[in-house]
């Protein structure tokens, strides 16, 4: 790809990129992907998606093509993209066809988590795997709020708007998620 065009796409604002996507400009979609695919990938992984992760990241950005028309013009599309990712996870969870894959994934989650997490020592790997598993044991609703607000830094208001739930529900789920994590992690915390 032309480096100049690519640099221009990276300098453009999110609303401008989204407007070009609506007009059918694929280069703009590539620009948005470069800007946010790390965030989307990390969010999906924290939400417990392992198998078909790459596919799901791509599906999120393909969804943008149809959804861009309804973009509300906010300066950063990050929260909006995470909301799309959360919807994709919910959709995937509901899909009966993926049940088998998820079952297989669940059975091997411990080993996978150990492979995925970068750490120099065995103790470190085990500790991180334990943290990751504690996160995965939260109910999907609590996990999605905890990951969005506490880990990804989305504001409560933005998460409420993105997930379509009242703000007070966000705080309640966050409170219960923390309570559960503190109970599960116990001495791992100071």
């Amino acid at each position: 790809m032309n480096t100049v065009v690519r640099a221009a796409a990276l300098a453009e604002s999110d609303p401008a990129l989204l407007a070009r996507i609506v007009a059918g400009d694929l280069e703009a979609l590539g620009g948005l992907f470069e800007r946010y695919h790390h965030d989307v990938r990390r969010f999906l992984l924290r939400m417990g998606v392992h198998s078909e992760l790459d596919d799901l990241v791509q599906l999120c950005f393909l969804e943008v093509i149809g959804a861009a028309r309804n973009y509300d013009g906010r300066a950063s599309a990050r929260g909006w993209l995470l909301a799309i990712a959360a919807t994709m996870v919910r959709r995937q969870r509901r899909s009966i066809g993926r049940m088998t894959a998820r079952l297989r994934e669940w059975m091997s989650s411990h080993d996978q988590a150990r492979e995925e997490l970068p750490s120099e020592t065995l103790e470190g790997r085990q500790a991180e795997a334990r943290l990751f598993q504690a996160l995965q044991k939260l109910s999907p609703k609590k996990r999605e709020v905890f990951v969005m607000v506490a880990l990804e830094g989305t504001s409560g208001e933005e998460a409420a708007a993105a997930l379509g739930i009242p703000l007070n529900t966000i705080w309640t789920r966050l409170h219960h998620a923390r309570k559960e994590l503190r109970r599960k992690l116990g001495e791992a915390l100071p």
């Binding site: 059918g24 694929l26 979609l29 590539g30 992907f33 470069e34 695919h37 790390h38 990938r41 990390r42 992984l45 924290r46 790459d54 990241v57 791509q58 950005f61 393909l62 093509i65 509300d72 995925e116 997490l117 970068p118 991180e128 943290l131 990751f132 996160l135 607000v149 506490a150 880990l151 504001s155 409560g156 208001e157 409420a160 708007a161 739930i165 009242p166 703000l167 007070n168 705080w171 309640t172 966050l174 409170h175 923390r178 994590l181 503190r182 992690l185 791992a188 915390l189 100071p190």
Partner: protein, 394 residues
């Protein structure tokens, strides 16, 4: 020994308390080992889980993924573009279906019961006291609010229907929703949306879309316009504002009392359903808090507390609490708990009344309310915090 401010550690971590309270807690934390520990545990929980970073794909993998995305997007777009090239038979069938649909739509739109000619169904409720005029005409619902707070519920709007609340400094366009709007000194002070979406257009400002659960509060005069959305006045600001006005601190109560004098109940409600079910009122209807009290009887409404009022009343109390109007919030929570004792939010009301007493430095009331909470909700969500409050060294 347990600190009564322990709950603020989580509120600060969430970013759900205002800067003044957060700063106050930070100062307190330096002297309170328990709060310092709680805050550090919450921070450690976040930091520890954030440290678990999944493996990032290599630059080569990223390039491959990007190329694959663009290939799939291109395919998708081509498929959409190719969609019209269908066999002739299919196109003919689609045209036939479209023709039938258009003709049906035309017949529906020209029938006397068409949605576009009926008036929107809405319900207005003065919160405390309000002065408003209903100027609805045809399918356009329009209410002008000149002062006071008004809780509005607009049922889902049909095609062609509109509903606008005109305020002295702008207007709110409603899209089938529940919300509360408050006007004071010819300026909109706050808007709280509990359901649906509201567009707030104030003169000289940009349009704000408020969705369910969000609120807008007028910032202090010096604040920039960008700070308007979900702005929250601090307790001190609210106190200063209260002191600077000529009205006595209990002015809202006096207003409500005046409404009470003129009517048997302060629940000023007006439910309107034009068109098919009621004769249209073409003349401008002027309604004040007092006169609207009579309206329910006229339209068969009831002043008895219904569960449909609960969200609005709780939201109004929450709005007062969030803007630091603690006296008003306390009164509203008490009313809510009395009227909707079976509602799950009455537990929150009981908890927040104890919090309000703590914030106001009224130890006796705080302890009494905490005791009441523990008695009524022994396994409640906040029972541990209430227990700590009971054991606090006042």
């Amino acid at each position: 020994m347990s600190c009564s401010r322990l709950w603020q550690a989580e509120a600060v971590e969430d970013g759900r308390i205002d800067a003044l309270d957060a700063a106050s807690f930070e100062r307190h934390r330096l002297q309170c080992s328990e709060c310092a520990h709680e805050a550090s545990v919450l921070r450690a929980l976040r930091d520890t889980l954030q440290r678990v970073q999944p493996r990032e794909p290599s630059p080569l993998e990223q390039r491959r993924e990007r190329a694959e995305l663009l290939r799939r997007a291109n395919q998708l777009m081509l498929a959409r573009r190719d969609a019209p090239r269908r066999p002739l038979l299919l196109s003919a069938a689609a045209a036939l279906v479209a023709l039938v649909t258009v003709s049906l739509a035309w017949r529906v739109s020209h029938s006397p019961s068409a949605a576009s000619t009926t008036a929107p169904v809405f319900e207005l409720r003065a919160v405390g006291g309000a002065s408003f005029h209903d100027q609805s005409r045809g399918p356009s619902g329009r209410v002008t609010l000149t002062s006071g707070a008004l809780a509005v519920h607009v049922e889902h709007l049909q095609r062609g229907q509109r509903f606008v609340v005109a305020v002295p400094d702008g207007e709110l366009e409603v899209h089938g929703t529940r919300f509360i709007v408050e006007v004071e000194h010819a300026h909109t002070q706050r808007v709280l949306v509990t359901e649906g979406v509201v567009s707030l257009r104030l003169s000289g400002g940009a349009e704000h879309q408020l969705i369910a659960g969000s609120s807008w509060t007028r910032p202090p005069p010096s604040a920039p316009d960008s700070a308007l959305l979900v702005a929250t006045r601090t307790a001190d600001d609210a106190e200063k504002a209260r002191q600077s006005t000529s009205a006595p601190p209990d002015a809202p109560r006096a207003l409500a009392a005046r409404a009470d004098e003129r009517a048997p109940t302060s629940a000023a409600r007006l439910r309107r359903s034009h068109g098919a079910t009621h004769a249209r009122d073409t003349s401008e209807q002027s309604v004040s808090a007092a006169s609207s009290v009579a309206a329910p009887a006229a339209v068969g409404g009831s002043n008895a507390p219904t569960t449909s009022n609960a969200p609005l009343e709780f939201a109004a109390a929450m709005a007062s609490f969030q803007t630091g109007a603690y006296l008003d919030a306390d009164e509203r929570f008490a009313t809510f708990a009395a009227r909707f004792a079976a509602d799950p939010r009455s537990e929150d009301a009981a908890f927040l009344r104890a919090v309000i007493a703590t914030k106001r430095g009224d130890a006796a009331a705080a302890v009494a309310r905490a005791r009441d909470y523990v008695k009524r909700f022994p396994s409640g969500l906040r029972s541990a915090e209430m227990q700590r409050l009971l054991n606090a060294p006042w």
